[in-house]
Amino acid sequence: MKILFKIILYQIHDISRSRWILFYTVFYLILTYGLIQFSNDQSKIILSLLNVALMIIPLVSIIFGTVYLYNNKDYIILILSQPIKRNILYLGLYLGLVIPLVLSFFIGTLIPLVFLSRDILFQIPLLFLFITGLFQTSIFVSVSFLIATWNDNKILGLGLSIFAWLLFSVLYDGLLLLMINVFQNYPLEKALIGFSILNPVDLARILVTLKLDVAALMGYTGAVFQKFFNTNLGTGISIFSLTAWTIIPLIIGKAKFSRKDF
């Protein structure tokens, strides 16, 4: 455990010196500040933040994660020459990246909100936004680590990362829309709930959209979704899905990492 903490602390220290993470924080600072300046409607601010979070966080996390693991190859080989378990090293690297990324998202969005729009802080959708940010970061870093351990070829790894991001944020919705169109004569609501749970980006988007009572706009579909996600079962299943998306790639990646020949 001690070693795990040491690795995490070292990584955080290392990352916080890099300019990337600073840009990332400043980006959220400027974005949130701009949104507050241009919009008076609080739920619109949260919605826009969510929109960006759902697009930017996965992209940044997955690319940052892949590049990070490739760049630290020498460091990893060095550490592995010490009597340190590979599992702990992998976990240390993972948390050492997730924690700074999440923190910079939190700090970047919270600072303008605290200073400029304090009453927004106590709204439940904001909490959802932060939970979304946390999960998106942890899921996509874990996926990126899996990709990077699987492939030694940097270009292929990076390509796969970008493809994975495209798949989750764009292509999946495209396929869903296609499916909705093809099967439009059937009651699709329940199937759609199932499909939206499978994709962490869609799930997060729908959860927050429903919380921001855009649900009324959706009529019957919205009502079905609201009914499902407002029950304990629905909440449980969505949290389970998000956690599974974090843990399963992490476990597979860890197994790969343990047996990997550097």
């Binding site: 009572d213 706009l217 009529g219 019957y220 919205g222």
Partner: protein, 435 residues
């Protein structure tokens, strides 16, 4: 002043004389008239009703009173079965006496012209689906005035049928039923003409104000709030004017159907939010004007179905789910000089063509430029997004709302329109919003 009875008496005498052929004695009859005119007028009597007076019940006065009399009712609770008013009297409550229907019967039925009811608290008319129990029911009357009353927990509040030129002013109506089927309308008009409904507050009824077959009437400055179904509901009511009313948080907003020549202006439609809620639902409306209204936070601000030649101008549409839902069977409508501000969808339609025109509107999502500085954008604005077309055809697709994929589709469609109606565009969108 001349008493009405006096005039009537004169008239009959004059009439009789003429009929009987006493042509020459017209001068005599004139003399008689002058004689009557010179009699000091007997003022209309006024009665006082109360527990300490000779008249303890309103019913007893009604039998004693004549046309034109005034009945003053002192404070107290009156449970007198249904009061039927067949004389043209003024009934005025002092300090809001309570007329109770004991949750069983209708409280008051007016069957005479020129009746005035003022200052009562009407309470607990029972629910009855056969007789449509109302607190006050007016049937086939003219020139009645119902003003400054409070109506509480009634099935129907004020119910008028076949009435004309009546005024409903400054009343407050509230009901507490939670089921639409067990609830009646606040102000209900059927087959009426020339009515004025002004400055009433209606809360918690089924429909706040209900019109069917009403002509030439004015509805002004009313507040219809939190009614179970519609804030205002009218059908087959031509040539009416609705102005300066507030319709807020009603179950399904306002519904307007099968009507010509409607004037709706300066109203506020707010917070009509829900799966089946519309700020303003228009079905088969033609030759009408909707202007200077505020539409705020409705899940659908205006829904057009089968509407022709409706001019919609100078309205504000802000933060609605869909500002305008335009069905393909609506033609020749004009939307001009409106503000569309932060609506999730500005216009949605199920048609690939458009026979309506949009011009000089301000769209907050417009991203064009104005090189010649005339205040209008140089490139047209397409208010219909591809996604709104998809949704119109296929409702469940709405779960993709705010997805990146959908944004990309919208941008692509905007550049090369193929599915959205090519002709549905605002050629001259305003750069800054109208104040």
């Amino acid at each position: 002043m001349l008493s009405q009875n006096g005039i009537k008496y004169c008239r009959t005498i004059l009439h009789n004389l003429l009929l009987m052929g006493y042509q020459k004695s017209i001068s005599v009859s004139l003399l008689i008239i002058i004689f009557f005119l010179s009699i000091p007028v007997i003022p209309a009597k006024s009665f006082l009703v109360g527990s300490n007076n000779y008249f303890k019940t309103i019913q007893s006065v009604l039998t004693a009173a004549q046309d034109g009399d005034t009945i003053l009712v002192e404070k107290g609770v009156y449970k007198e079965n249904t009061l039927i008013i067949k004389k043209s009297v003024k009934i005025i409550g002092l300090g809001f006496p309570v007329l109770s229907g004991e949750n069983k019967y209708e409280i008051m039925k007016i069957k005479s012209d020129d009746v005035l009811i003022r200052g009562f608290l009407f309470k607990d008319s029972g629910i009855n689906f056969i007789y449509d129990n109302a607190a006050v029911k007016l049937d086939s009357v003219k020139n009645c005035i119902i003003e400054e009353n409070i109506f509480s927990n009634n099935f129907f509040g004020i119910y008028l049928s076949r009435a004309s030129s009546c005024k409903i002013l400054n009343n407050k109506l509230e009901a507490f039923n939670t089921k639409e089927t067990y609830s009646g309308n606040g102000i209900h008009l059927w087959q009426c003409r020339g009515m004025i409904i002004k400055n009433n507050k209606i809360n918690g009824h089924r429909d706040g104000i209900y019109f069917e077959f009403v002509k030439n009437s004015e509805i002004e400055q009313n507040q219809s709030e939190a009614n179970l179904r519609y804030g205002l509901h009218f059908m087959f009511s031509d040539s009416c004017r609705y102005a300066h009313n507030n319709f807020t948080k009603n179950g399904s907003g306002v519904a307007v159907m099968f009507t010509k020549n409607v004037d709706m202006h300066n109203n506020r439609f707010e917070y009509n939010w829900g799966g089946a809620a519309f700020g303003l639902l228009l079905k088969d409306i033609s030759d009408s004007k909707i202007y200077r209204n505020q539409f705020l936070k409705n899940s659908c601000a205006i829904y057009f179905e089968g509407c022709n030649r409706v001019n919609t101008f100078e309205n504000n549409f802000a933060e609605n789910g869909t500002a305008i839902r335009l069905m393909a069977n609506s033609m020749d409508n004009i939307f001009a000089r409106n503000n569309f501000i932060s609506n999730s969808f500005d216009v949605s339609t199920n048609s690939t063509r458009s026979y309506n025109s949009f011009e000089f509107n301000y769209w907050s999502e417009y991203k064009g430029y104005d090189l010649n500085n005339d205040g209008f954008g140089d490139i047209p604005y397409r208010p219909v997004k591809l996604f709104s077309i998809i949704i119109e055809k296929n409702r469940p697709a709405l779960i993709l709302l705010r997805s990146l994929f959908v944004d990309i589709l919208n941008v692509a469609e905007n550049i090369f329109p193929s599915l959205t109606p090519k002709t549905l565009l605002d050629i001259k969108p305003k750069m800054r919003k109208y104040l």
